[in-house]
Amino acid sequence: MILSLILMSLWAVIWLLYLNQLPSYRRQNPCHLPPAGTLQKYLRLLLPVCGLTMAFLLNGLDGLFLWAFTAPFTGFLLAMLLSYLQPPSPPGRTELAKRPKSPQIPAMHIRLSSLLTSAFIVSAAFLGLSPAARADRPWQDAHTQAQITAEHELSQPLAASLSSLPDGSPFALSVTGKIYRLDPVDGHLTILMDELPPITALTATAQGLWAVTQAPQPALLNIAPDTGVILNHIGFGSTLAVGSHISALQVTDNKAFLVDDGVPAFVVIDLQSGHAERLLEGAPSLSSHAPLMRHGQPVTTAQGQSRTGGNVHFLLLDRSKNWLFYQTPTGPLYRIGTTILTDSSLGPAERIEAMTNWRRTPSLGGMTINRDDTIYMVDIDHGDLLAFGADRLPWRLLHDDRLYDAQAISLLKGRTGEQGQLAVLTNPAASAGGTNPASTPNPQHLLEITLP
């Protein structure tokens, strides 16, 4: 539909240019473009070709037909519209006989209006090729599909959280908040350190594991991944509100970014000074506004009410550590610059304006990002594995019924250039309406997916 609008705008411009090159005695329609020049002539010839190419690139054969159909439709509408705008004063015979030339407009005026018109035309022509337009394309099957290469039954009930170190070693959180090292070969779970306080969110970086604990005191912990020893401890209790629940975090060299799912907000912690700040509380993009869909059906509570799956739940950091991607389980995906959150000179209005809607997504059961800044998502509505790269091309990598039950996803390999592999945590009880993995007899599974 967006392509049709773009093509109609393009054809409107082409028809206006066509009208503009007619001598005024023949031009029955009001047309307020500057007099036709060489630029307009070339644009008139070039724009249909550009439109055709763009339509084909964006929509294939469908685009070609759309290009052909929008031309007469737009021309017809424009001719009718412009004709009714013209006052009913038919030109006299003397006027016809004179056949005057185009009206004389001051040179400066022409240059300015030519510039404006050209800018409008060029922007309209390239609108269709803009990343935003490409990002709105529907999910398409990738030429080479990903494959599920292994499936392991898990012995422990795990929370919906998976993370892996740059070398691909995965870690998981149990429902009781314990950190487990996950063996991707057989799905065996090994507890990292029994004495750690209960963890609510976990991420793994080159500096080790970073975890958030909310009891007894809210704190950010840096944990050695091999021994489980706490390397650093930063308290941030003052920034939490009643009902807060930290659902995800990402860490750069000197800052930690946390998202509060309970009372939607960002929490930014300076790792050097320990100063914590709560930002963008209640921003609309941090809250869920749609029902969570699983297997084509809305997920409901015991009372039959639709569930949203909670507020902001996923948080990713790109390779350059300049951009944070975040979203609720029902989407859409948003992007914000890390500097926007750390620059103390900016106010809430500027920050809200910088929250960019990056892509509509279906209901998700996990999201992760690789070294090339390709975001992998598990679509629990349709049972698909999706990829959305830096080129903003939306691909469907895999469909498998087991993905309807996905809870979390993490990279296993691929951060260091090897063939990419993903681990997906699934809970068959999720489809059956179960919410607490510990309370259901169906054990969770770990799927190992080899990327194309």
Partner: protein, 484 residues
């Protein structure tokens, strides 16, 4: 161009265009509606639009629907099972009654029949478009002749307008004299959509001509060839419980989707046919339990399939189908304005005569009557058909017979009315405006308010309202002029 050549071309354009215009208007109008055949079917059977969220097809639903298919086949009805798709979210257990496809709609999740009676539906307009509801081969012959006339009229029109084709491409003068206004409208639409009209007309004519050739010399089949449309297999068909589910899974893996595909008996097997919208060219690939893999085939196996892809546009997305529909409606405007111009020019010829013979007068009246019955009668009958599917049926008549009878009856009455009364066009415009504007009210009153497909109902209602408003604006134009 010499005046002699010009008058010859004009003669051809007018006297081929007007009689063919009657059929071409029908073809373009019904073709536009046929673009949304499944959606029209759902509008006429509002319960098949289901409730939001739309349930998806389940294995148990498919098994149950398969049992119903077997019952129909065992009873001697050559039915097939159309699978749910986003455009039509229910199973359709359809058979062909010689004109249209009809049969019960089944819930996609349970396979149970939905509470709806048979309606002419979207396939009614498809049949009207392809054969004008005439028996074979007359329907095909008339359509081919109309198609050839379209091409001739387009070429003569282009030749006549060649010198002013580019300079007057977007010329429309709404404030000019009446005849000039209609001519501008005719030329504006005609020149802008000339390439599209030519491609649609040519592909449609070729398709119908191919049908006629096949009818004249049927293709030779080797002995033992099983026709897809055989009425009954010699041995009772057996469908094991998991056959349909297995085929559906195989089809899903092979084609990526089976939505809008269908199960049909082929010989002693049940085959799953690929959806028609899978490729540009219609391929009709089929899977059976004995042949569960597809051999590699070229994308467009025959020229016929290319023309089918070009004319039917089943593969196209929603936006393209909408614009295709609009192109059809634009063609109706071109043909309608051409017919009005023909009438006016004939009227002008009479005006200059001192005495008008009775034959001339009757001819003039019949031209007017045919134009009125075509331009106003057909949309009127169509709206009446839409209304009749939502209103109670007379108890003495089967619903389907009543609805089809009402359509053709009202259309015939429109012609009769226009033959007998001078002001028939105004009266039919009033009726058309009333029906068009009140369709939304009827729709809201006669369907469940909560529906899974609100856009479908609002799109049909909006189109009907647009027709009503257009008629109202034509009716109110003289009043406006008088007040000005």
């Amino acid at each position: 161009m010499s005046p002699r050549l010009r008058s010859i071309l004009r003669l051809f354009h007018r006297w081929i265009g007007f009689p063919a215009g009657v059929f071409l208007f029908i073809l373009c109008f019904t073709g536009s509606l046929a673009c949304f055949s499944p959606e029209i079917q759902d509008w006429m059977q509002p319960h098949t639009a289901l409730h939001a969220p739309l349930p998806s097809m389940t294995s148990s639903g498919l098994t149950k629907a398969g049992q119903k298919l077997k019952e129909q086949l065992d009873a001697g009805t050559f039915a097939f099972l159309k699978l749910p798709s986003p455009r039509d979210p229910v199973f359709r257990l359809w058979h062909y009654d010689g004109h249209i496809f009809l049969g019960p709609a089944l819930a996609p999740d349970t396979g149970q029949p939905l509470p709806e009676h048979d309606v002419p539906g979207g396939t009614f307009f498809v049949t009207l478009h392809s054969s004008l509801y005439l028996p074979t081969p007359w329907g095909q012959i008339v359509t081919v002749l109309a198609g050839i006339s379209l091409l001739v009229t387009l070429l003569t029109g282009l030749w006549l307008q060649l010198r002013r084709f580019l300079p007057d491409l977007l010329l429309f003068r709404p404030h000019a004299a009446r005849q000039r206004r209609w001519l501008d409208l005719h030329l504006l639409g005609g020149t802008l959509s000339l390439p599209i009209l030519f491609v649609i007309g040519l592909s449609g004519t070729v398709l119908q001509a191919q049908k006629l050739i096949h009818l004249a010399s049927p293709p030779h089949h080797s002995s033992g060839h099983a026709s897809r449309h055989q009425t009954r297999s010699s041995t009772p068909l057996s469908i094991p419980a998991d056959t349909l589910t297995t085929l559906a899974n195989t089809g899903q893996k092979t084609w990526g989707t089976i939505a809008d595909g269908f199960f049909m008996q082929t010989g002693n097997y049940v085959s799953l046919y690929a959806p028609d919208n899978l490729h540009f060219c219609l391929q009709r690939q089929a899977l059976t339990t004995s042949h569960a893999t597809m051999p590699l085939r070229s994308l467009c196996p025959t020229l016929h399939s290319v023309f089918l892809g070009l004319h039917n546009l089943r593969w196209a997305g929603l936006a393209t189908r909408w614009f295709y529909c609009f192109s059809g409606l634009l063609s109706c405007i071109i043909i309608g304005s051409g017919m009005v111009l023909f009438l006016q020019s004939e009227r002008n010829n009479i005006t200059h005569l001192s005495t008008i013979s009775m034959v001339r007068r009757i001819l003039q009246q019949s031209y007017t009557a045919f134009t009125t019955a075509t331009i106003l009668g057909l949309p009127l009958a169509t709206l009446a058909l839409f209304w009749s599917t939502r209103l109670p049926t007379p108890p003495t008549l089967p619903a389907l017979l009543w609805e089809e009878g009402l359509f053709f009856g009202l259309w015939g009455l429109s012609l009769l009315h226009a033959c007998l009364f001078q002001r028939a066009a105004i009266q039919q415009l009033i009726l058309l405006a009333t029906l068009g504007v009140s369709t939304t009210g009827l729709d809201l009153l006669t369907r469940p308010l909560h529906t899974g497909r609100p856009f479908l109902f609002s799109a049909v209602d909006t189109l009907a309202t647009c027709i009503g408003v257009a008629c109202l604006s034509v009716l109110l134009r003289p009043l406006k002029k008088r007040s000005a």
